[in-house]
């Protein structure tokens, strides 16, 4: 069966704001809620963000729901991703034909749409049973962006005002929609996101013919300004309505277009700095459509690459790293074998070993194995006494990584060398639980290592030792 979105009928409804009726023309209504939920969940699952964080709000006592700043995950699906929000599409009818998207116009998939009533009932009943933390509503585009946005706005408004739902709501802002509707919607929800879709404008041109970069950046800028203004207003008038209080996020698809990691991280950095985004999400490209413009992925979605990008993303947001420190034009891709932080540390061995009892907080953050929480506790703890390795362990420092880079009171944990090659080898040897030993043969230290026949692994991951020799037989 192939449905077409009927665009000719009922244009009159658009004129009346807030009283948008559910489009009867989309041929929904025959399906049960169970069927609709299956179809519209299936259509929404490639969306990444499912976080319910960023805003702390107590219940008013009159409705249902509150929000926690840290967010709460309520379940985990078989792919290990968290289920925090009821992530569904309003409808999977779409007038666009983006090549990577399962819901594109030219795909022959079952189409349906929820009624606002159904969305509200599902959300309230799931929330009441502690299944979910709120609603994440996105949608295919019916008729035009403004019309779709208005439908979403009507459903959310019903959920907030009639059902008095006070939990978390995340909606997608649709590029091209009337800014006025986006503003109205922003006052009702906690988080809004505009999908960047692909890291560069060129990729977008190739794969999403109906979208362009400036069209996407426009609502992003609008939401950013809205958030800033709202914060100022709330500072003056405490009860002023809050606009998107949990901030704005976006997502991009990784691996559908030929960008390198450096480009992607730079884009993310620019988004954080220039658009004040809360989060950038990366989604490893899953080939759901047969299309000659899309790359074949014999090894499945690029999950490791996605993982490295998330690691780098956290380094940007919480650890004070810049994109240019992690990667460069000459080294545009992440190390396959090591996480970006270890990789950075290995390239800056002149800074190590770092004295834990004296190093400034910012530098502690750069030590592999020390996270934000541990660094804070170290700084607090060392005011009251000299820290030893035992204390670090209790604080939560991952010593098996950190031990190569730190010393306590001038001593390192074991006798280790500050040598790139040596540390790399030991770090990769994760299964090896024994304390690192200098390589000893007949009691004498050696610095060479076995020539590997699988040099492709080595070459991709490790930087060759100084002099460019893989096997330096020097004693």
């Amino acid at each position: 069966m192939f449905y077409h979105v009927s665009m000719s009928t009922e244009k009159k409804e658009l004129s009346e704001k807030n009283t948008v009726k559910y489009p009867a023309a989309v041929g929904a209504g025959q399906l049960s809620v169970m069927e609709k939920l299956r179809i519209l969940t299936d259509a929404a699952k490639y969306d990444v963000a499912c976080t319910s964080s960023g805003v702390e709000r107590k219940g008013s006592g009159k409705g249902m729901g509150n929000t926690k700043f840290a967010g709460i995950c309520h379940s985990f699906s078989a792919d290990g991703r968290c289920i925090s929000l009821l992530k569904i599409l309003f409808t999977n009818y779409c007038i666009y034909d983006c090549r990577y998207c399962i819901n594109r116009k030219s795909n022959d998939v079952e189409r349906t749409a929820f009624t606002p009533e159904e969305i509200c009932e599902l959300t309230m009943n799931f929330y009441k049973r502690n299944y979910i933390e709120g609603l994440f509503l996105s949608s295919g585009i019916i008729r035009d962006p403004s019309y779709t946005m208005e439908l979403i706005c009507a459903a959310i408004s019903r959920l907030r005002r009639v059902y008095r739902f006070e939990g978390y709501i995340h909606v997608k802002a649709i590029p091209g929609a009337d800014p006025e509707i986006i503003y109205r919607l922003g006052l009702l929800v906690d988080r809004m996101s505009v999908n960047l879709e692909l890291p560069t404008a060129e990729g977008l041109r190739n794969l999403a013919p109906n979208k362009n970069r400036s069209m996407i950046l426009k609502p992003m800028r609008q939401i950013q300004n809205g958030i800033v203004n709202s914060k100022e207003e709330v500072a003056i008038y405490r009860n002023a309505p809050q606009f998107v209080p949990a901030g704005q996020s976006t997502q991009m698809i990784i691996g559908a277009t030929p960008e390198n990691d450096y480009q992607i991280v730079s884009v993310a950095e620019a988004l954080y700095q220039k658009f004040g985004l809360k989060r950038v999400f990366y989604s490893a490209f899953v080939r759901v459509n047969e299309d000659r413009m899309l790359p074949a992925l014999p090894g499945g979605p690029p999950l490791l690459r996605e993982h490295r990008l998330y690691q780098a993303d956290f380094l940007l947001r919480y650890y004070g790293f810049g994109a240019g420190e992690l990667l460069s034009e000459d080294r545009p891709n992440f190390n396959v074998l090591l996480d970006p932080k270890c990789d950075w540390a290995l390239r800056h061995l002149e800074l190590f070993p770092m004295e834990v009892n004296r190093a400034p907080y910012e530098m502690l953050l750069r030590v592999p194995g020390i996270g934000v929480k541990s660094a804070k506790r170290i700084v607090k703890g060392r005011r009251l006494g000299n820290l030893q390795f035992d204390d670090l362990k209790k604080i939560g420092v991952v010593l098996k990584r950190a031990l190569y880079f730190i010393c306590c009171n001038g001593k390192m944990m074991y006798r280790t060398k500050i040598d790139e090659d040596y540390i790399t080898r030991n770090l990769l040897d994760t299964e090896n639980k024994r304390p690192p030993q200098p390589d000893l043969i007949d009691g004498r230290e050696v610095t060479y290592r076995q020539l590997s026949l699988f040099d492709d692994v080595t070459a991709a991951g490790m930087v060759p030792p100084p002099g460019g020799q893989i096997c330096a037989g020097a004693r």
């Binding site: 169970m34 006592g61 499945g300 703890g381 009251l384 209790k394």
Partner: protein
């Protein structure tokens, strides 16, 4: 020097009573805190030590109240909250760790900073217990599931390892103010009640009426089915990773979660 071991009851009140009594003993005997120790009576026989005398200390609201007041005033709310979490732990050494932390805290110059004193093994232990209990509380907030009974009451059964039930009260009563709900700890046979638009309260030593608990509302099964289907559908097949799922959501919690019910 003979050591006096104060054997407290398991509750927070019991432990704090122990702290009070130990303090009195430490001061009145003139031998100081090294002379006292705290243990928790968890119903099992504990190993008795030589050169120790054991004293049972029945929980006393007045004594515990005095200790609580001192803690909040002199160590601050943050430390007090941490100690409360630690006392909800199931570890037998929790009373001793809390006692020693209080001793360390009150003897410090910057008392509210006692938790930063990571070099003190008891403080570190307290912190560890708190982290463990805090983690379990958070997992209950995540994975606890209500089911709607015939009479409209929402019922959740939990079996936490630590005694976290009372920390769930504020969260859920704020979240569901106009619902009648009941959270039952099957391990400790305790229940937390919330009546529509009223404060929550707890009751000990309570048997759950299984027959009543089995009579679910007509909609209940429908929503369980819907959610089960949602969870199954939301997973991306080409990313399947059961080990990762297990890491975040241990099997231990799954028996009360409808999305993992065998159907």
């Amino acid at each position: 020097m003979e050591i006096v071991v104060f054997v407290c009851e398991e509750s927070i009140e019991g432990i704090l009573t122990g702290v009070y009594d130990a303090w009195v003993e430490a001061l009145s005997s003139g031998l100081g805190h090294a002379h006292c120790r705290l243990a928790v009576n968890n119903g099992n026989d504990y190993n008795l030590e030589l050169f120790c005398s054991y004293r049972d200390t029945p929980a006393d609201t007045v004594k515990a109240g005095k200790v609580i007041r001192t803690l909040r005033k002199r160590l601050g709310e943050e430390v007090y909250e941490c100690l409360c979490y630690a006392m909800a732990s199931r570890e037998p050494d929790r009373a001793e760790a809390v006692y020693r932390t209080i001793v360390a805290g009150l003897s410090m110059e910057q008392r509210y900073r006692v938790l930063d004193k990571v070099t003190d093994p008891h403080v570190a232990r307290c912190f560890e217990l708190k982290r463990n209990v805090g983690g379990e509380i958070h997992r209950e907030l995540e994975f606890l599931r209500f089911k709607e009974l015939e009479n409209g009451v929402l019922l959740a059964k939990i079996h936490p390892k630590n005694d976290v039930l009372m920390y769930l009260g504020p969260h859920f009563s704020d979240r569901l103010p106009s619902e009648n709900f009941l959270i039952y700890d099957t391990n400790r046979r305790k229940a937390l009640f919330h009546e529509r638009e009223k404060d929550w309260y707890m009751m000990d030593a309570l048997e759950l009426d299984e027959e009543m608990a089995g009579r679910i509302s007509t909609e209940e099964e429908y929503y369980q089915d819907l959610f089960r289907m949602f969870c199954r559908t939301i997973a991306i097949e080409s990313r399947e990773n059961r080990a990762l799922q297990r890491q975040f959501l241990p099997l231990y919690f799954r028996d009360v979660m409808p999305e993992f019910a065998k159907k």
